[in-house]
């Protein structure tokens, strides 16, 4: 990764977190669900940016990516089902 | 195992409650498939062992080019169809675990009773507000030939409320209300019909209760809501 990209990722991190907070102030009373969705998307995009660039997953052999993808797959199953089990 | 559970608890000729009928029917399917599969596969194993045992001759073995995946494929296909058939039967029996649709009608023909599990016993709250604890001579009393809807929860820890002779069981969990239904078609008192099926501490083994099935009029006068008043 070139240094410029690193600064790009960092800038994105800062902008994303500020946006999260902004969205929170805008929507927390108006539309809580929309706020949750938007913040979740932003957080996920931040995480993805770090994994792809700072952790250089994009340059690793495909098999390594499995170590990141498999647990996330399992955890999603846990999350969806546990919330469904609340009835 | 048909009627086995029942025979255990009752004596004499009896009718089969609907939940038990559904359960027994389903169990018959599973026993048919399950015992059948066990017999066939273990039979195959024994046959092969006898057929291909080391007879001490040193005849060269035939080549195994394909490693015999065809027969594996065929037998697996057979077992998949059996599993699918069994699962289909399960889905066809879901009435046992769904709240009957009648119970959401108005007027509600179902009898609603609240069950509270605690360390160590059960407490029942009847439609007229009467509250009873399980003891030797205070059974869970229900009218015959009615759909009974139990609303189950717990005061302290995880319990599981089961009446195995009626093929029903549901967990009693603090902070949560679970329902189960049954319709007992036989009059009489069944001792120790109710048991706790989840370890809940030292008294788990003695967390039992009796079930008493009485005519509707008797039940109504003692536990029912007084509709004439």
């Amino acid at each position: 990764m070139r240094t410029s990209v690193a600064f790009g990722v960092w800038a994105y991190m800062v902008i994303a977190v500020l946006t999260e907070v902004e969205i929170y102030y805008m929507l927390r009373t108006a539309n809580y669900d929309l706020m949750t969705a938007a913040v979740s998307v932003l957080a996920t995009s931040q995480a993805t940016a770090i994994v792809v660039f700072n952790m250089q997953l994009k340059d690793e052999p495909g098999a390594i990516r499995l170590f990141a993808l498999i647990p996330i797959m399992f955890l999603s199953a846990l999350l969806i089902a546990e919330l469904a089990s609340l009835g | 195992m048909r009627e086995f559970a029942l025979a255990l608890m009752y004596s004499g000729m009896l009718t089969v409650p609907p939940t038990v009928a559904t359960f027994d029917h389903l169990l018959d399917w599973y026993l048919f498939f399950g015992v059948g599969a066990a017999v066939v596969v273990i039979g195959m194993l024994v046959t092969f062992v006898i057929l291909y045992r080391d007879k001490g001759d040193n005849k060269p073995l035939p080549e195994h080019k394909t490693e015999g995946w065809k027969i594996v494929l065929i037998t697996v296909m057979i077992s998949i169809s059996i599993l699918a058939a069994a699962e289909y039967q399960t889905f066809a029996s879901f009435s046992n675990i769904e709240t009957p649709s009648q119970c959401s009608m108005v007027p509600d023909p179902c009898i609603n009773i609240s069950v509270l599990g605690f360390q160590w016993g059960w407490q029942f709250t009847y439609p007229n507000g009467k509250v009873q604890l399980t003891t030797e001579d205070q059974p869970l009393t229900v009218p015959v030939d009615k759909i009974i809807l139990l609303n189950i929860t717990s005061r302290d820890v995880f319990h599981s409320f089961g009446i195995v002779s009626l093929a029903v069981k549901e967990d009693a969990i603090p902070g949560r209300y679970n329902t189960l239904w049954f319709n007992d078609t036989n009059l009489g008192l069944v001792t120790m019909a109710i048991r706790c099926y989840e370890l809940c501490g030292a008294g788990h083994a003695t967390m039992v209760g009796n079930l008493s099935v009485v005519p509707y009029s008797t039940w109504q006068s003692e536990f029912g809501v007084n509709t004439t008043g």
Binding site: V9, V17, A43, Q46, L86 | E87, F94, R176, G201
Partner: protein, 779 residues
């Protein structure tokens, strides 16, 4: 091999508990054991057998034979292996000690259903829980080691399609462990913190704690049952061809079915343990189908085993007999499992002896019988001597009969609740229980024959031919040292015989230290003692924590913590002095991971388990948020601007860490040092702000003893954010160490692995915070 014998030792403890229970249940209305003792016996029997006997005995075999099978000298990280063993032992010591503290041991069943288990008084339960956490840590380290070894240490030419089946199945087991055990750590850490610190994860009834526990426990628990089973299947698949004289039928189908169906789906069926908890009917249906689906690969495996005899020449020697026994018992156990997968039938079977029969058929029948097969099969390789065939056959026959006398009657006890300490004389309960108890003694008695045969082989067995079974696998190409002298100590479970296997345990370290130690009197010289110190330090610290509060507790915590710190410092010092220089990396077959270094692979595997660990904690938190009817409004507790600032600080430290890496990539050690220092400062600032936030929150009444729902929010916040903080702190400590090494002129353009890997870790910490911040501050 130390693993192997230690697990046998725990197996004996578990068996004694089982026999006590069978004595108690042999007749109705018995009072040999009271409920108090029975509940402890039933709980600890399950925990010890599953966690300290079954899995470790398989890992013990794997420890010895996997390196041999792949043509490696040892596992990838020898010291990690030692660490894993000592953590396992420490956890076990805590579990066994728990019987002797006031209030006794854990007694809520091996499943530890909540809230019963957190409400049990006494420190015994806490000891067991923290022991489990140590065990899980041990397993996680072990998994990393095995994954890396199997992927990375294969000898040239050992391509994946040549990998022996045992190694394949160990790989599957290990992968399941890697993803399952972090959830166990999370679950038991939450429960322990309830018990020690007074958090309210499982005591606050407003959030359906039982359901939270069930989800966490069984999300781990179902994969765990396969973890127990798969090594056994690996043994079967590995050894069947040697006894049938023909290849395994549809071998590749077995591998594909296990890798692509069993492993992924094992994390998607756990709710079949929750059919009765009142989950929606559709969810029950979905998990019923998933459960049926996961039984299909097992059909493939079983039928392949059965059909591998067709047109072969079946030699009925002891290992093969145990294989056949295991297959028969698995068929029965698997089919009863299919019965249980029906939510409708489960309304009768759940919580009854039918379930007990089911899982003993699979766990004892299939798993232990096949491990016995493996023991008989490999003992010639291990000792250079042959076991006694006739005694082996008798052992099999009596075990098989005893097993069925013990467990088959339980299939008919479908109306008897499990885990009741006594029962009235109704129906056929007395008869069936009586038979089962007789079977228990037959089965247990038969195992003395195994012990006798092992001892006989070890000391008196006739020398075995180099490859008695005509196996093509690599382990038979090298030769064991014949175990010498019948005068060696016979107490195999505890004291190691001189020479023998001591070289195998713990850490053979580098060739250099090996030669250095060759003349030394003590086996200890072979390996670093740091892993023992670290493990025992952790153990003593956690014991103190279990007894908390009190002077004794604090004393233990101080001693344990000190020992831990000293050991850690010592470890670092050893490294700085290159005491254990890593052996040069050799060529090998590494597909599909060519070009990835061993350390980096290890780091990724570790991060993979960390994802599950944090994921489980966050999943618990999200569940709590979903279940809680009332929860403090966002913004009402945490200082959002401060949190935002801290988030930006951490993100910036990610950037500076990257610049540090970039510097050393260009070989600029001075800039590396500068950027690392900046990163360190930013990280410390983050922690400083964190601590000041905590102090403020604590003094403003946001504590664990606050009224509901603030205590709940506080529990979640302090534990989860605290865990993240602990990771940051660990990162800071590592940074100090790396900076010291940099100052010593360690890293160069070509060689700076450690820095790169630390960069991965630091980035991961940043990622976790990306989720923690919105979850706790904004939502």
């Amino acid at each position: 091999m130390l693993y192997f014998f230690t697990s046998l030792y725990f197996g004996i403890i578990g068996a004694i508990l089982a026999l006590l229970m069978r004595v108690q249940l042999s007749v109705p209305n018995n009072f040999f054991l009271s409920a108090y003792y029975y509940d402890q016996a039933v709980t600890m029997h399950g925990l010890i057998m599953i966690f300290w006997f079954l899995s470790p005995i398989a890992i013990g075999l794997a420890n010895y034979f996997v390196p041999l099978q792949i043509g490696a000298k040892d596992l990838a990280f020898p010291r990690l292996n030692a660490m894993s063993y000592w953590l396992y032992l420490s956890g076990g010591i805590m579990a066994v000690l728990s019987f002797f503290v006031p209030g006794g041991s854990a007694d809520a069943g091996w499943t530890n259903y909540q809230p019963l288990a957190v409400l049990t008084p006494g420190s015994g339960t806490t000891l067991v829980y923290l022991g489990l956490v140590l065990l899980a840590a041990s397993i996680t380290l072990g998994s990393i080691n095995f994954v890396v070894s199997i992927i990375w240490l294969r000898a040239p030419g050992m391509s994946l399609d040549k990998l022996p089946m045992f190694t394949w199945f160990i790989l599957f087991t290990i992968i399941a462990m890697l993803f399952a055990f972090p959830t166990l750590i999370a679950a038991f850490a939450l429960a322990s913190s309830d018990r020690i610190l007074g958090t309210v994860f499982f005591t606050s009834t407003q959030i359906q704690p039982s359901i939270l526990w069930d989800n966490l426990f069984w999300f781990f628990g179902h994969p765990e049952v396969y973890i127990v089973l798969l090594p056994g299947f690996g043994i079967i698949a590995n050894i069947v061809p040697q006894f049938t004289g023909r290849p395994l039928a549809a071998k590749n189908a077995i591998l594909v079915a296990t890798a692509l169906v069993v492993l992924p789906l094992s994390f998607g069926v756990w709710m079949h343990h929750m059919f009765l908890t009142g989950i929606p009917v559709d969810l029950q249906g979905a998990f019923s189908i998933a459960t049926i689906a996961i039984s299909i690969p097992f059909d493939v495996i079983t039928l392949s085993f059965v059909e591998s005899m067709i047109r072969g020449r079946v030699k009925l020697l002891t290992p093969m007999l145990f294989v056949l026994g295991a297959v028969v018992l698995f068929i029965i156990g698997g089919i009863t499992g299919v019965f249980l997968s029906s939510p409708v039938l489960d309304r009768v079977f759940r919580g009854s002896y039918f379930v007990v029969a089911h899982f003993h058929y699979v766990m004892v029948g299939a798993a232990i019988f096949s491990i016995f097969a493996g023991i008989y099969y490999w003992i010639p390789r291990f000792t250079g001597r042959m076991y006694n065939e006739r005694l082996g056959k008798i052992h099999f026959v009596i075990s098989f009969i005893g097993f069925n006398v013990l467990y088959f009657p339980m299939n008919f006890l479908f109306d008897m609740p499990r885990r009741i300490f006594t029962y009235p004389n109704i129906g056929n309960w007395a008869l069936l229980n009586g038979i089962a108890s007789v079977g228990a003694f037959i089965f247990a008695g038969a195992q003395t024959l195994l012990a006798a045969n092992l001892l006989y082989t070890w000391f008196r067995g006739p020398p075995s031919p180099p490859n008695p079974w005509g196996s093509p696998d690599l382990e038979w190409k090298s030769q064991p040292v014949l175990t010498p002298s019948p005068t060696a100590p016979t107490d195999t479970s505890e004291s190691p015989p001189a020479g023998g296997w001591i070289g195998q345990l713990a850490t053979p370290a580098s060739p250099a230290t090996e030669t250095h130690a060759a003349g030394a009197e003590h086996g200890e010289a072979h390996y670093s003692s740091r892993p023992i110190q670290l493990s025992f330090g952790a153990m003593i610290f956690l014991m103190g924590a279990a007894f908390y509060p009190g002077i004794l507790a604090i004393g233990l915590m101080v001693i344990g913590g000190a020992l831990f710190a000293v050991a850690l410092g010592g470890w670092a010092r050893d490294d700085l002095r290159h005491k254990f220089a890593p052996p040069p990396e050799e060529e090998g077959d590494r597909w599909p991971f060519q070009g990835v270094s061993k350390m980096k692979l290890g780091m990724w595997v570790f991060l993979s388990s960390e994802i599950v660990l944090f994921g489980s904690f966050l999943a618990a938190y999200i569940f709590i948020r979903g279940a809680a009817v009332t929860f403090p409004a966002p913004g009402s507790i945490h200082d959002i601007p401060l949190g935002t600032l801290n988030t930006i600080i951490l993100a910036t430290s990610g950037l500076t860490m990257f610049l540090a890496i970039q510097a050393i990539r260009q070989g600029d050690r001075r800039r590396l040092m500068q950027w690392m220092s900046v990163t360190f400062m930013l990280g410390s600032t983050f922690m400083g702000i964190k601590i000041s936030e905590w102090v403020n929150l604590g003094s403003s009444g946001f504590t664990l003893s606050a009224p509901y729902p603030f205590n709940l929010a506080a529990s979640a916040y302090y534990i989860i954010v605290g865990l993240h903080g602990a990771h940051v702190t660990a990162g800071l400590i590592m940074m100090v160490y790396l900076m010291k090494k940099t100052k010593d002129g360690e890293y160069t353009k070509e060689s700076h692995e450690a820095i790169e890997n630390f960069g991965l870790y630091w980035a991961f910490i940043d990622i976790v915070w990306c989720f923690i911040f919105p979850l706790f501050y904004l939502l």
